[in-house]
């Protein structure tokens, strides 16, 4: 599914920033924070990153798929093609809710 759509699987994202840093168009913005989680039986709490926002600016994106390739957790994936058109450039920045996979890759 080349040149289709890049979807985010939110649950798999660890906010590692790799996609953001590798994107040649600088079109991904990610905001996150850490929380301490104590798992049952663990001696010390561990730090976990929580994803606050994840935006792809589709007015800049060249659908090269570098972000998909570099993601170590497969949190980004090609998805069913969506024809993105807009009367407003800001509307082409898609957030977590709009980036969800359609399930038909």
């Amino acid at each position: 599914m080349k040149h289709s759509f890049i979807a985010l699987i939110e649950d798999k994202c660890t906010s590692c920033m790799l996609c953001v840093r590798e994107c040649p168009a600088w079109c991904i913005n990610l905001d996150s924070h850490t929380v301490e989680v104590t798992e049952e039986g663990a001696r010390r709490p561990k730090k976990v990153n929580v994803l606050d926002s994840f935006d792809i600016d589709y007015s800049l994106c060249m659908y090269c798929g570098v972000c998909i390739d570099v993601c170590p957790f497969d949190a980004l994936a090609w998805d069913e093609h969506r024809a993105l058109t807009s009367t407003n450039r800001e509307d082409m920045i898609l957030g977590i809710a709009d980036l969800r996979s359609s399930g038909n890759a």
Partner: protein
């Protein structure tokens, strides 16, 4: 100006001027030849659309503006990442960072290049919004 109608809605008619600047133009041609748009002989063609397809370098801006001014009232479609924001050439000194710096854009089409169906959707959205 070539005049087209939507096959699904023959009443909706558009005039399309294409500013063929780079590779996006090929995808535009594919869309025009896809059968969804047919050449129309209807005279009262409603919205005139000018499609800026491809990379606009600073040196080309005056020519693009001249083309747009030659068609008063025309709606500008920014077709593809380059025309919208510079796209893959966003960091290149001679490339302008989006035609919306110079002219009001009626519709943006994402993609590098956008697929033909994105163009068809943008054209029908434009045509129908005019109709309403």
């Amino acid at each position: 100006m070539p005049r087209y109608a939507l096959t699904s809605e023959p009443r909706v008619c558009v005039e399309i001027v294409s500013a063929a600047l780079a590779c996006c133009t090929l995808e535009l041609q594919a869309a025009l030849g896809s059968g969804v748009l047919v050449e129309s002989t209807e005279l009262d063609a409603s919205p005139s659309v000018i499609v800026i397809a491809g990379t606009v370098t600073d040196a080309l801006v005056p020519s693009v503006m001249q083309l747009i001014r030659a068609h008063p009232g025309v709606k500008v479609m920014s077709f593809g990442a380059c025309a919208t924001s510079g796209g893959p050439y966003w960091d290149s000194p001679p490339v302008s960072k989006g035609i919306d710096q110079f002219v009001e854009v009626a519709t943006y089409v994402a993609g590098c290049p956008p697929r033909p169906d994105a163009f068809i959707q943008a054209i029908s959205d434009l045509a129908c919004s005019e109709d309403a």
